[in-house]
Amino acid sequence: MKSMSLYVERESTVHHIDPITKLVYIAAAIALPIILPSLHTAWICMLISFVILGMGRVLTRSLPIIGFVGFILLTVVIIQGFFHVGNETVLFRLGSWPFYEEGLLFAMGITFRALNIVGAFLILVLTTKPSDLVESLVRKGLSPRIGYVLSSVFQIIPQMMATVDTITDAQRSRGMETEGKLMTRIKAFLPLIGPVVLSSLIDTKERTLALQVRGFNVKGSKTFLNEEKMYRYGSAMRWSMLAIVIGAVIWRVIA
């Protein structure tokens, strides 16, 4: 089925870890390099994120995304290497253009941190079913309504895309040119908006009724079909990550 989720179904320890722990990991992975701004923390954190992706057997799946981000970051390296404000030590020359060590190190810091954050998010996105994530958040107190919106988006949007196709067909069928030049396509796009919005509004009204009679608005506590995904070492992991972050703060203050 058409779905917008990037989730990759694999059998791995990382997949078994609960979504909340993965969220805590993202927070820690962002916080640590900020608290300890040395280049070493940056590359160590990045390496850890990549190793976890590898353990989750989704490293190959994440390479295109990491590659794309890396390519953009390469431009940062080039620009900073040549033009960073604090540039002093020349590493090499490209023709008459000097490339500096300070700029390179500065850009490397940015690159490692950015890739670390991308990696940490990829761990969550690639190894967690969106529905599991939403369900854990609802259990932790997120409003079930927001939870519903978050999880239905993944399926309703592909459905809307299918409606767009049908409506395009209906308009082509009545002699509206939708193929060919860019301008023709843009002109064809505008009249689409009306029916698409309208048919989704009609759908929304009908769906609201359907949800209401399925108890969507019933007050009182909800139960869950799926048992809460508890990873045995989940809380130990969360506490130790917290400990590491606090440790880092203390280290930063005294050292």
């Binding site: 529905s131 759908d203 399925r214 009182g220 048992e227």
Partner: protein
Amino acid sequence: MSLIEVEHLKYRYPATEKLALNDISLTAEAGELIGIVGKNTAGKTTFCQALVGLVPHFYKGAYGGSVRIGGMDVKESGVDETIRKVGIVFQNPFTQVTGSKLTVYEEIAFGLEHLGIARQDMMERIDHALHLLDIEAYKDRAPFDLSGGQMQRMAIASVIAMRPQVIVLDEPTSQLDPQGSEEVFRAIQSLSREGITVILAEHKMEKLAAYADRIALLHEGMLIDYDTPSRVFSRSDLAEYGVEAPIYTRVCQAIGFRMLDMDTYPVTLEEAQAAYEAQHSAISASSQEEQGGRYD
């Protein structure tokens, strides 16, 4: 006391002048299958939604009279209470899919989760509903990947799992192909056999005639008739209400085949056949008599 008691129900949608429901009173007993017929603007959908409390609670508007299900007043109790006793299934199977669940099994759980049903109980109910609607085979499929008929049966299962005493079906097959309709009709029959009270609005008169215990004929928001399929479909003024009797009835009416010893016409293929045989044996009996007379 009857399970469903509707008394002098009147309703007008906001910003309109005409009554959508005009003084409807009827009762239905537990386990009955009630058909609702009428032309497109007769008020079938409005009546169906009044039974679950969506009228007036969702639409607002002016409301008079009362609907009581098992003694509970729908207007006073509100939708969230009423749905514990009455479930409703709509026309379009697509827009009833919540979209937040990845499998049919989870989809059926949606209502139960919101009602706060304990997990063990929930699974038993889902398994029973899957079995009743004959969709066990699809329980791990994605909801949007089902065919229309399968999707509509999933919608019914989702409501049935909530264990209502009454299930209201508003033209559940109007957007399905014959195979899908047949699947849904078979499912409705098994619900009825389970003792669930079914209210079914439908255009397919041949089906209603075969399955319904009683038929409510609506026109312009009013209840014109509420009787057995034979009596309602034998009415000579049916066309005035924009309703066509089953083909069997129309043909038999035109050629004067009545039900044996009754003033009504056949409404199903079987009844038409029985009426034909009765007619035939009457004719051959009389011609035998004639022949016998001659030889005497």
